[in-house]
């Protein structure tokens, strides 16, 4: 791999990691508070992308399309929490997990019903579809640049939110110990809804960026990003937000460089390697890199 190729792959990995990070943060947040692995998070992302598609189809400018898409995902997330997860609060972990699988399947098929199985071309704005030449023969696409920039800005904002605002502090307190937080007068329901609002909003942004990256969208598109984000949260430690971000970037790098470095006939086994790695991490270091949750080991 020559240096310019390396630079190209580096940007690519950063960009992929950024999208995973945006998805993973929502997963980690909800997991930290509810101990729920929300499989339906990927469908939130998908619905965001479709909202953008239909908003653009009625000729709205992109600066309106993007907020509309994010607003849609926020509403979806909040409704999902209210309808499917709130009635199950306090139920066994696995019941929550299975319910989220049910929500995921229901939303996927609803999308198939409403939007059709045929992939649609994502309305990437013209300003995002070019390439920028850097020195040394490295060319990076604008999409990657926008992706990394957006993700970084949102991560900084999120960090400020969880460390500086009362609501952010309540979220962390609830994740630490829900009962104690409640005894201290924190309204857990508010915290849970906030987590869904933020997580779903970030998933909406991720849906837009994923659509722009891949170029087309379809009802099952949420599955892969959520699986990967999921691996990221495991790498970083279930429930840890910084861990999820770190895990997401590590995964982005692992994926891009596995493909670049593996011998040709093994590259298609990329996912097998990634999930094999996931199992290894679960076995060897179930807390992940930055996780604080107790390992569930016998």
């Amino acid at each position: 791999m020559n240096p310019s190729e390396f630079g190209q792959q580096l940007v690519n990995a950063l960009s992929l990691g950024s999208i995973y990070a945006l998805v993973a943060v929502g997963l980690a947040m909800v997991f930290g508070i509810l101990r729920l692995i929300n499989f339906a998070h990927g469908e939130v992302l998908m619905l965001g992308a479709f909202a953008a598609y239909y908003a653009a189809a009625v000729a709205l400018p992109f600066w309106l399309v993007a907020p509309l898409a994010v607003l849609t995902t926020v509403v979806v997330g909040v409704v999902m929490e209210r309808v499917a997860y709130r009635p199950l609060r306090g139920a066994p972990d696995v019941a929550l997990l299975l319910t989220s699988l049910g929500v995921s399947i229901a939303l996927q098929n609803l999308a198939l019903l409403l939007f059709g199985a045929q992939p649609k071309r994502f309305p990437t704005p013209a300003a995002m579809s070019g390439q920028i030449a850097l020195g040394g023969g490295v060319r990076i696409s604008t999409v990657n640049l926008v992706t990394v920039g957006t993700a970084l800005a949102l991560m900084v904002g999120l960090t400020l939110f969880v460390t500086r605002t009362p609501l952010g502090l309540s979220m962390r307190a609830t994740a630490e110990n829900a009962l104690a937080a409640q005894l201290m007068g924190i309204n857990v329901t508010t915290v849970v809804v906030t987590a869904f609002v933020i997580g779903s909003g970030l998933a909406g942004v991720a849906g837009l960026l994923w659509g722009a990256r891949v170029g087309r969208i379809e009802p099952l598109m949420g599955f892969i990003p959520v699986l990967k984000a999921f691996v990221a949260t495991v790498i970083g430690g279930f429930g840890s937000i910084p861990g999820a971000v770190l895990g997401a970037y590590l995964l982005g790098f692992a994926e891009i460089f596995l493909v670049a470095l593996l011998p040709g006939d093994l590259t298609s086994y990329r996912d097998a390697f990634i999930f094999g790695g996931l199992i290894l991490i679960l076995l060897l270091r179930p807390r992940g890199i930055l996780g604080s949750t107790e390992p569930e080991k016998i």
Binding site: I37, L98, G102, I105, P286, K297
Partner: protein, 421 residues
């Protein structure tokens, strides 16, 4: 997971016996094994149960003979599919329902059984036609055409199930150490790996196109024979010391270990037995449809099997069978809805995917309003004669637990995942 158990019983240490065999106070304490039950009543119960089993089997045979004679091919296939799905659901009940170790990777074993079985019975000329250079020479040249068809199918099922069980033993040995979410995620990783191999190992699995022209050897009789065997084995396991250890480790990990249950070995046994039957079902399925493709063994199927087991009641063998029957037959009726309806005044257009939505929403409603499913942990197996399990704790079993003997027992937390946090 599973329904919240009554706190008593699950924590009751077996007071004297060093082994697990004594049913005193163990959660699965059934009226039959209960020491308090008078012996003659027990004998009556056993013989009544035996009669019920015989009657049930005769009725099943009569139904199958009738179905074979009068059903069209499609409906007969559906009847067969009920049995195959029942085998899968019972497999999942054993490996997850009994132990509470929730596996999302069960369908990986279904895939293994299907591919292994298919490669055994595929005629050599077809293996050549489909170009599978990765096959070892003996397998590529293996020709079971000379065998009686049912013997070939039996071999395919046994080897398919056996290899699935072997893989389960290897994979499970490390994975069964995990609990709760972690094991769900890890087994899901296993499923993705199996799928990835099936899609990419072109020279053996023919990739995404899958294998076709598999001889269709499965008939209703064989499928039901396996289903009966699966139910029987699961039931024997459930009432055996191993089964009690499984339930105990599900209900309270720490208490189970405290009385000497080897949790890892117990879980592994359940995982391997479940994988064996799921592998067998895979082979049956391959020889029913005649084709095997990776897409058939992924999340959609996983979810369907989970619905079967959860709807029936995690941990209930009866529930698994009933759940399998409902989930196999219901989509057939829902398909009419999907194809559109004309009710005179109202007419609905064809809605593709609606049946899946209905199933998924139904599943969520079950999780919210009846998480224990139809049967919870109970069995209605032997014709209502011997209702067993916690649902109906007999007075004798209750008397085992007296406050004087086990102080503080009543105050113990009812946390099913107690040790798993």
């Amino acid at each position: 997971m599973g329904p919240k158990p009554p706190a008593a019983g699950s924590e009751q240490p077996a007071p004297t016996s060093p082994t697990w065999g004594e049913p005193r106070g163990t959660p699965a304490a059934t009226p039959r094994e209960n020491e308090g039950a008078p012996p003659d009543r027990e004998r009556q119960r056993t013989s009544a149960g035996g009669i019920a089993v015989v009657v049930g089997l005769v009725l099943l045979g009569a139904f199958l003979a009738l179905a074979e004679g009068s059903f069209n091919a499609y409906r007969l296939q559906l009847v067969t599919l009920v049995a195959i799905n029942a085998v899968i659901a019972v497999g999942l009940t054993v490996s997850s329902g009994f132990t509470g170790v929730f596996s999302l990777g069960q369908i990986g074993f279904l895939a293994i059984g299907a591919y292994v079985g298919a490669l055994l019975t595929l005629p050599p000329q077809w293996k050549g036609e489909m170009f599978l250079p990765g096959l070892p020479a003996w397998l590529a040249g293996l020709d079971l055409a000379g065998w009686p068809p049912q013997a070939a199918l039996l071999l395919a099922c046994l080897v398919g199930g056996g290899i699935a069980a072997l893989v389960a033993a290897v994979v499970g040995a490390p994975l069964m150490r995990l609990s709760g979410h972690y094991v769900a995620v890890a087994t899901m990783g296993f499923l993705i790996i199996v799928n990835s191999v099936a899609v990419n190992w072109d020279t053996v699995t023919r990739g995404a196109r899958g294998l076709s022209a598999i001889p269709t050897l499965t008939n209703a009789w064989v499928a039901y024979a396996w289903a009966v065997l699966a139910v029987y084995v699961a039931w024997r396991l459930r009432v055996s010391p191993f089964g009690r250890a499984m339930i105990a480790s599900r209900e309270n990990l720490i208490a189970a270990r405290a009385i000497g249950v080897d949790v890892l070995r117990t879980r592994l046994l359940a995982f391997v037995v479940g994988a064996f039957f799921t592998g067998v079902a895979g082979s049956l399925l391959a020889h029913q449809i005649g084709t095997v493709a990776p897409s058939a063994f992924y999340f959609a199927t996983t979810f369907n099997v989970i619905i079967m087991v959860v709807l029936g009641g995690m941990g209930s063998i009866t529930g698994a069978v009933v759940g399998a029957a409902i989930l196999t037959l219901a989509p057939e009726y829902l398909r009419d809805v999907e194809d559109g309806m004309d009710l005179g005044v109202l007419s609905f257009p064809a809605l593709f995917g609606l049946s899946q939505i209905i199933l998924a929403v139904g599943f969520i409603l079950v999780m919210i309003f009846r998480p224990q499913g139809l049967f919870g942990d109970r069995e209605l197996g032997l014709g209502l004669l011997s209702r067993r399990g916690r649902g109906r704790r007999t007075p004798e079993a209750r008397e085992d637990i007296t406050p004087e003997l086990a102080p503080g027992l009543g105050e113990m937390p009812e946390d099913g995942a107690g040790g798993a946090r």
